[in-house]
């Protein structure tokens, strides 16, 4: 059995433990100091690193214990952004949608110290996790830049600087998520141009996570996105995006979502394994990365563990099958 085949990973976020959820609420009301909150965020990060090792995942994440929303976290640390009021995303879930109110700039690195801390806890590689420029724009209100492209390109320079800092800090994998990339398929060229700015000159493996939208509308053009690996939700879609690869072969590494993250119940290991087998019809085992469909932050810690275990156990089954086939 070759461990380099079907490396397992996750998309980025995990559920926060109850003590951290409570602490964040207290901190928001000024009843807990930032230092006390950070202490708990570090504790929760360490717990998630240990859990990922115990589960047997190959490439780890810091779990984003210190982030609420994947756009607001950056917006809060960038000049030019204002944090807007609450907007509903679905059901009873709300987020603070940022406002681009002026020219954007990055006073300080935003994720590097968390990456360094998480990496110091494990000998396995930890991914650096960023939100891509197109998504930063699309999930914010733009009051400042004359066009969406102007805003995206300005944000690309910021994400590029952060990615370079992560690489200098030792990140071997840098994930730049673009879940909004298919929001307006006619703008895919802007997203590609911006990602080119971000990843130019990086030697780390680059990854982009894309989810919840009409992937067919941007395929195969999305293959021009200058990253090494695309990370796609598949289980939630019944793997229908794979059919697109019949006509236009998939040319990158594929991180394949094999468990749905928006259901409380976890797929059986056998169902998840079948997802990997489907992926193997299009992408060789050395380039296929099993993982959950999306970030797991909306799930409880226990549900997160269950879903990650399903990914790892399913992968073991398929690795064994591959080992039986003579090379």
């Amino acid at each position: 059995m070759n461990d380099n085949l079907l490396p397992t990973t996750t998309v980025g976020s995990f559920g926060k433990p109850d003590y951290l959820t409570k602490a964040r609420a207290q901190a928001a009301r000024g009843k807990l100091s930032p230092t006390e909150l950070e202490e708990l965020e570090r504790k929760a990060t360490a717990e998630w690193i240990r859990r990922q090792e115990d589960i047997g995942l190959d490439v780890l994440v810091d779990g984003e214990m210190y982030r609420g929303d994947m756009v607001a976290y950056f917006a809060e640390r960038l000049e030019g952004f204002k944090i807007g009021g609450l907007v509903r995303s679905y059901g009873n879930r709300y987020y603070h949608k940022p406002v681009i109110a002026g020219k954007v700039s990055r006073p300080n690195p935003m994720t590097v110290s968390w990456f360094e801390y998480a990496q110091s806890l494990t000998s396995k590689p930890v991914k650096g996790m960023l939100t891509g420029p197109y998504t930063l724009l699309d999930w914010s209100y733009n009051e400042a830049y004359p066009t969406r492209r102007d805003a995206v390109l300005a944000l690309a320079e910021i994400v590029r600087d952060e990615a370079r800092d992560l690489e200098r800090a030792g990140a071997k994998y840098i994930q730049i998520d673009e879940p909004a990339i298919h929001a307006r398929p006619e703008e895919i060229e802007i997203a590609i141009e911006a990602m080119g700015i971000v990843t130019a000159g990086l030697s780390a493996k680059t990854i982009s996570h894309i989810c919840y939208g009409d992937f067919a509308a941007i395929y195969p053009q999305v293959l021009e996105l200058p990253v090494d690996q695309l990370d796609l939700a598949m289980a939630n879609y019944g793997y229908r995006w794979l059919d697109l690869f019949d006509r236009n072969p998939f040319t990158k590494e594929l991180a394949i979502g094999i468990v749905d993250v928006h259901a409380h119940e976890t797929e059986t290991v056998e169902v998840a394994a079948e997802g990997i087998r489907k992926g193997l019809r299009y992408v060789p085992a050395g380039k296929l990365w099993p993982h959950p469909d999306c970030g797991l932050k909306t799930r409880t810690v226990e549900e997160c563990v269950e879903k990650c275990v399903a990914v790892v156990e399913a992968t073991k089954i398929v690795r064994k099958e591959l080992a039986k086939v003579p090379a």
Binding site: R88, S89, N92, Y94, N142, Y212, D260
Partner: protein
């Protein structure tokens, strides 16, 4: 006479202050089993009453109930119709807002009463002219995740139209005189425009003042087609994206136009002057009695304080519009 104003779709369900988040708290408590469905319904009623009050206080002429009870445009129907279930989450067009995709498991049927209780409640509260709202058949059909019943998009769209027609009849019997049919798919998927026309013929049989409300995308590809749809009102967004619609509004010879002039998807606040200028541009081609100023889409894409400010801009802009430009 001042030009009329209206809202479209959903209004923000909560605000930013703790005293404006009772619905969010109540839903959490319901999920934890701490309050009953009846107690939750009372909170929905209270928030609906406050929402209608807020829209009326801004001076809007034709109000709705803010769709406070709706998780998304399709949810009330996916829940109440037989043959339909709520499926996986998906992004709602190009918004960072999600909806449950309908899954069709059998023939779609409804008693047409899905919204009647809510409409009756709103009617008891509103002092301004009140309208109802339903999703459009093409939007319902194109946003469906899986269909085990109908063999084609055509069959599915017409089946949805029949169900929506029943809801319209139910609302009309409850006293609704104006009903918005929110159908962004008509402009998002213009290739289905003739299918949509066939579906609307079935809705028109319901025989009431119907408004086909489009949003998110410019109506350019279908504008002249919409002018021959069997509805009394057409809603189009002329604000949030580039469109040639302004130069072609004379295509609408009899229909009223809901002109989306206040961008409900960006916090940048229009001035009353900007609103008035949009209206005056439209008045070159449409007489004032057939023009109504509106938000571009649901204000729920904005924080509540911004939504309120947008309504104020809308109403103040309407009051600035000078006189009638086109003879009736």
């Amino acid at each position: 006479m001042t030009i009329k104003t209206t809202v479209i779709g959903a209004y923000p369900k909560i605000g930013d202050g703790p005293d404006a988040q009772e619905l969010r708290r109540a839903l959490h408590r319901r999920d934890r089993g701490e309050i009953t469905d009846a107690e939750l319904r009372k909170v929905f009623d209270d928030v609906t009453r406050a929402t209608i009050g807020e829209i009326e206080a801004a001076g809007v002429d034709t109000v709705n109930d803010g769709q406070v009870r709706w998780d998304d445009l399709l949810a009330p129907f996916a829940r109440s119709w037989s043959g339909v279930e709520q499926g996986p989450l998906e992004r709602f067009y190009d918004n960072n807002t999600y909806y449950r995709q309908p899954v069709i498991t059998g023939p779609i049927t409804t008693d047409g009463q899905s919204l009647v209780r809510d409409y009756a409640f709103a009617k008891g509260v509103a002092t301004a002219r009140l309208k109802a709202g339903v999703p459009g058949p093409l939007t319902f059909a194109t946003l469906t995740a899986r269909d085990d019943q109908y063999r084609s998009i055509e069959e599915r769209t017409l089946a949805a139209a029949d169900a929506i027609a029943k809801e319209i009849a139910g609302l009309a019997a409850a006293g609704a005189r104006l009903i918005d049919i929110e159908d962004p798919a008509v402009v998002a998927a213009p290739k289905y425009i003739e299918l949509a026309r066939e579906a609307y013929a079935r809705l028109a049989d319901a025989g009431h003042a119907l408004a086909l409300v489009t949003y998110f995308f410019p109506p350019d590809a279908v504008l002249e087609s919409l002018a021959s749809f069997p509805v009394g009102v057409i809603g189009i967004d002329v604000r949030s994206r580039d469109t040639t619609a302004f130069d072609r509004l004379d295509a609408f010879r009899t229909q009223h136009i809901l002109l989306g002039v206040v961008d409900a998807r960006n916090t940048r606040l229009e001035t009353a002057d900007e609103v008035a200028r949009y209206a005056e541009r439209a008045l070159k081609l449409v007489p004032q009695e057939r023009l109504v100023l509106a938000t571009t889409t649901s204000l729920e894409y904005l924080p509540r304080d911004v939504a309120r400010a947008k309504l104020t801009a809308l109403v103040e802009g309407a009051r600035l519009v000078a006189g009638e430009k086109v003879p009736a």
